[in-house]
Each structure stands twice: as C-alpha cells, then as structure tokens.
C-alpha cells in the first residue's frame, strides 16, 4: 500500500505538478509521477492540455505589469495628488 502511494498520486497532486512544470519548477521525479497518472487518467490529460494552452497564450501575449514596488510608489503619488485636490 505504501509503495502504491509512493508511485501513484491524486488527481489534484498531478494537476499541481503540472502547474509547477509550467514554471519549470517540477522535479524529474514529480514529472515521472505525473506521466504515470497521465497515461490512465482522462481528467489529468484534459487538465494538462488546458494548462499548456493557457501557458502558450500567456507567452504569446507578452503581457506585462507593474512591479509591486512601482505600484506602491504610484499609489503614494496619487494619494498626494488627491489630497492636494481636496484642499
């Protein structure tokens, strides 16, 4: 039983490994366990396919955003400006 859980993972675990793998943070062992589940689990296969599609779209769009620190600075500046207007 112990050996089984050692090799076989739950659907949610498999999906989280798939997520990690989108950011190249899954270990070889995790990828192996995901591949095993991928072979027989239709839900995992569907998730992997959708997840890859999402990653591709994100890469293709080249979306960008402000860094947290830049947002904080902007917030501060805007607050000052807002206060100036209120006076």
């Amino acid at each position: 039983m112990k050996n089984k859980s050692f090799l076989f993972i739950s659907c949610e675990e498999a999906q989280i490994i798939c997520d990690k793998s989108q950011y190249k943070e899954a270990t070889l062992w995790e990828k192996f366990k995901l591949s095993l589940r991928f072979l027989w689990c239709r839900i995992t296969r569907t998730y992997v396919s959708k997840n890859k599609k999402l990653t591709q779209s994100l890469k293709q769009s080249k979306v960008t955003c402000l860094k947290q620190s830049e947002k904080e600075n902007l917030k501060e500046t805007l607050q000052k400006e807002l206060k100036k207007q209120e006076h």
Binding site: D19, K50, L54, L58, K62, T64, L66, K71, L74, Q85
Partner: protein, 183 residues
C-alpha cells in the same frame, strides 16, 4: 442617473496593470509607459467632475490614456514603422554618389499579429480581474512578473505549498475564463 461611479482610491489596484500593459504594447518603452499611466491617473483626477458615469471607469481611463499616447507620439514626432534609411559611400570612385538602403525592422510584426496580441492581452487582463484579490496577486507575481517562488512566499508570508494551491486555483479559473472568451 449615472450607471458607473468613480473611486480614485481603487484605480491602482484595479486598473494600473491593464493600463500599463496597454501602454507598453503601444510605446515599447517600460519607463515611458509608467509615466504615461501616471499622467493618465493625474488627468483623471483633474477631470473627475466630467465623469458622467455612462461608460465604466476603465473605459473612461483608457480614453484618457489613448490621448496621452497620441500626445507622446506627437511630441517625439516618431518615425516608428517607417523603414530606416542608411546612407553609405561605396568606394572612392563612388564617393559622392548616394546609396539608399532599406533596412528591415528587426522587431517587425504584421498589424494583424499586433492586434491579436493586444486583444489576447486584453482577454487575459479581463480574466485576471475576475480572480479573487489574493489569487490575482500571486498569479501576477509568479506568471507575469516571473518572480521566484521563495521571493513571493517571503513577501506574502505564505508557504510554497500554499503558493502552489493558490496558483492552481487561479490557473483553473483563468483557463475556464480564457476558454469562454478566447480559445
């Protein structure tokens, strides 16, 4: 009666990323984009009284930003999109005869590519806005900013397993939303 209300205190959290992404894709300069977004918010504050509530806050801010981007291009009198002309002397015999050489723009994209990417960017940000605040923050930091797991965990005071669960939930919602609106 106005359908939409205005709240400048929420602008940065709700719209700064969307506006910034919109601007970067049009001016190709991160610093300039930041300035333009800031100018847009300032202009928004000044003309808040003119907001009639007929359009959403975001649409209204985008219309201000579009004008700022046009003003930016007017200022720099940009030659963006035109072929670069290089003038060379070939040899001593040819000295004085001009050769015009058209050089391909290395970042050349067709108008169609650009439009598709912009629309895709819009679709992604629309889906991102539907995520709960915490999921959106973690997803943005990990996926768009490309920060390391440890950095995010330290900053948000969460464990790596928490982070992956949050990312997982965010990715499920994002994939469903993109399925409906894009794929």
């Amino acid at each position: 009666m106005p359908k939409h209300t205005i709240d400048p205190n929420q602008w940065i959290d709700l719209y700064s990323d969307y506006l910034f992404n919109f601007t970067v894709s049009r001016v190709n300069d991160r610093e300039k984009a930041k300035d333009l977004v800031q100018d847009t918010f300032f202009a928004g504050l000044k003309s808040m009284k003119n907001f009639k509530g007929e359009a959403s806050e975001r649409t209204w801010l985008i219309s201000i930003l579009k004008r700022k981007i046009i003003d930016h291009y007017r200022k720099i009198n940009s030659n963006k999109g035109k072929a670069e002309i290089r003038v060379e002397f070939n040899s001593e015999d040819d000295e004085g005869s001009w050769l015009e050489k058209r050089v391909a723009d290395p970042d050349y994209k067709t108008a169609e590519d650009t439009i598709i990417n912009e629309e895709l960017g819009d679709a992604i940000y629309n889906c991102l806005n539907k995520l709960p605040q915490k999921q959106a923050t973690v997803f943005r930091m990990k996926t768009i900013e490309g920060l390391e797991t440890d950095t995010i965990c330290n900053e948000l005071n969460i464990t790596p397993s928490n982070l992956w669960v949050i990312i997982h939930r965010a990715r499920i919602t994002m994939a469903e939303c993109m399925e409906k609106n894009w794929f």
